[in-house]
């Protein structure tokens, strides 16, 4: 059954919402979510007052985790800042699929400069707004894992180190997707990408490489660092809301499956994100001033194989009759190390 809920009445704090009516479909099911929760605990997305910062009609692939994560994150930021948010975007899928004029999806002020400078541009926007007396307008910068962990890393570290008043959100789909799925320093070991082909004696991405950006962010001792996942959108919103209550440099690293790049079914985006969390491969935690302050416990631990097997980028690990038990064990060891490091299970206290 498709039915429109009460027409949106945009709150005065959310001027952008006026530009498009928020529609909900499938009311009466659990899709709207949180119907059984008290109003305070419901997600921002469940409200007709949401800013709808990235409106419908953009060109992301079906099942794009990045589109989902960005929409939840930006709307949560909009609510937290009373509708006064400026977004800065690095080059990448999010920038490309949301913008071509005249179909820009952004209903909030939005700026894209180049691939490697979003953190610095955001610092400049924040400074410019301060100097113009607009102290209540907040700045959210965003980029993919490539722009964040590789080409924009210097600018990001500078923004952190200066403790500029910017919330930076990395949408980590574990490769350079916009240019056709090349390896980044966030690509996991064994993953096949266009530049780490599943060929030779050690197919896919090399083990023992890559960098852990949330921990690097923590090393800057900035006020707030968190990891989040589209598997738990409630948690993502809560972390964005928390970050928006803090001044200074903040960093949220969101795990966002990419059906195209991962070779996964578009209906599996949330499931894969959840399996990454529940295997321990993508730990969810928060840190303040360099110290971990909270972790999300794994409810039901799953073997990494459950997460890896549905993704064609790992297919070479599961060739019938030639299962790569050695590499699978190495990936399992990574997950187990995360579980120990962050105390992700009940048995493993923080």
């Amino acid at each position: 059954m498709t039915e429109e809920t009460t027409g949106s009445t945009p709150g005065p704090a959310s001027p952008a919402a006026a530009t498009q009516r928020v529609r909900f479909y499938q009311t009466g099911t659990h899709t709207l979510g949180n119907r059984l929760m008290d109003a305070e605990s419901r997600t921002v997305q469940a409200s007709t007052d949401r800013a709808n910062a990235i409106t419908s009609g953009h060109r992301a692939c079906q099942g794009c985790g990045e589109a989902l994560g960005a929409r939840y994150a930006l709307d949560a930021a909009m609510r937290a800042a009373g509708g006064k948010v400026v977004a800065v975007n690095a080059t990448g899928c999010l920038e490309v699929f949301t913008t071509p004029y005249p179909e820009t999806s952004w209903q909030i002020p939005w700026l894209h400069s180049v691939f490697g400078n979003a953190p610095a541009v955001a610092s400049g926007v924040a400074a410019g707004l301060r100097m113009r007396g607009q102290k209540d307008v907040r700045v959210v910068a965003q980029g993919g894992d490539g722009s964040t962990t590789d080409i924009g890393f210097g600018c990001l570290s500078g923004m952190f180190e200066r403790n500029d008043d910017v919330l930076y959100i990395c949408y980590d789909n574990e490769a350079y997707m916009n240019t056709g799925v090349q390896r980044s320093s966030a690509t996991p070991p064994a993953a096949r990408t266009a530049t780490t082909p599943a060929l030779g004696a050690a197919p896919g991405n090399v083990f023992g490489t890559g960098k852990n950006l949330p921990r690097i962010a923590m090393a800057h001792e900035i006020p707030y660092v968190a990891t989040a996942s589209v598997a738990d959108l409630h948690d993502l919103e809560a972390k964005v809301t928390r970050a928006m209550a803090i001044c200074g440099a903040r960093y949220i690293h969101v795990h966002v499956p990419c059906p195209l790049g991962w070779g996964s079914a578009s209906h599996d985006t949330i499931r894969l994100a959840r399996l990454a969390v529940e295997s321990g491969l993508f730990p969810l935690f928060e840190a303040e001033h360099g110290e971990v302050t909270a972790v999300k416990k794994i409810r039901r631990k799953v073997p990494v194989e459950d997460y890896l097997r549905p993704q064609r980028r790992f297919a070479h690990l599961f060739r019938p009759g030639h299962e790569d038990t050695q590499r699978l064990a190495a990936i399992q060891a990574m997950a187990d190390a995360n579980i120990r490091r962050y105390g992700l299970t009940e048995e493993a206290p923080l």
Binding site: T99, W106, P109, H112, G124, A127, M131, R132, S157, G158
Partner: protein
Amino acid sequence: MLKQIEGSQGMAEAIALCRPQVVCAYPITPQTHIVEGIGAMVKSGALKGCEFINVESEFAAMSVAIGASAAGARAYTATASQGLLFMAEAVYNAAGLGLPIVMTVGNRAIGAPINIWNDHSDAMALKDAGWIQLYAETNQEAADLHILAFRIAEELSCPVMVCVDGFILTHAFERIDVPSQEQVDRFLPPFAPVQMLDVANPYSIGAMVGPEAFTEVRYLGHQKQIDALDVIPALAAEFEAVFGRPAGGLVRPYRIEGAETVVVALGSVNGTIKDVVDAERAAGARVGSVTIAAFRPFPLQALGAALAGVRRVICLEKSLAPGLGGMLASNVRMALQGSGTPVHTVIAGLGGRPITRDGLTRMLQAAATGGLEDVTFLDLNRPVVEAQLAAARRQRHSGPIAENLLKAVNHGPGPRRVPDRAAPGQTAPQEAKP
């Protein structure tokens, strides 16, 4: 107020009078003193309403300026040489977005070989990034051009690069008339952006544009520069009315009446050129010069008019387009289309090589007797070059050129064998066949 100060300090004071709101700084000689000066004024409280940001690279400096400008703030930064190239992507981006940022370039050579001294290679490398490029001739003009630059930039919503010769202007102590705040405020109104990140009126800036409109966006960027050909002289006239002295403009001819040979150049070397013109005129030679004050937009008509009827033009260029010769000359030829006037390139002053009156006089005399080639290198040390060429012909493994030349310059260009650098167990480098 008259002050005997370093050129950089004069610029810093002029920039501060323009009430910048965000200034980004990253150190590179020879622009460093300018941002240090502004930083000190922000820190002491002398410059209010301005945020001074120490960034981690020139790329970040330009990027912060882009963000600040898009947020509606007056933004400034400075750089030179390697720093300008390091920020190149963002330099193009600022122009593409139409953000009226002002940047000083303390002109300096580009490595390798690394060299901190003055030439114009840096600004020339980015001459077509879409920025307006103004070149200062004196310390007074270096200060004044910044006031003009903010006004021009904001009038057109186009970024402006103020090019000042490294050391020659940035580090020289000269008498500078620093204007009053009241004068600057009269000339430069508060920044009224044509586009801005505004929560009350949200739109996207920097969206992707495909083939259907990209040419038109570029055309409008070009048109802005064409408009600047009118805006620059008009504002220069207004500047003179407010401040009582000339600054900027498009071209400044000097003693070109009846001149057969005219030297065209950018920046501070025009001072020396004018001295030589005076001396040669006194000796009866029919010579003159033209200072190009705005290189982008290129003042085709104004220059064409100034050079009408001359026998030959010499472009004295502090940069080199390897494989072609002169960038200035190839632009100047556009202004002389159809006239048949020969345009010579004289490459001079690279990496801080002094451009002397003697050298310029010899150049003019060679030109008068028809002895000037299309592309000449002023005061080139021929024997050293020939020795290196010969060594390279003799020997395959002839070693790093810069090191060889320094040895030759310091010890004379005698034939020398480069030490054998082959690793143990490898065969010695082969002699090249002639």
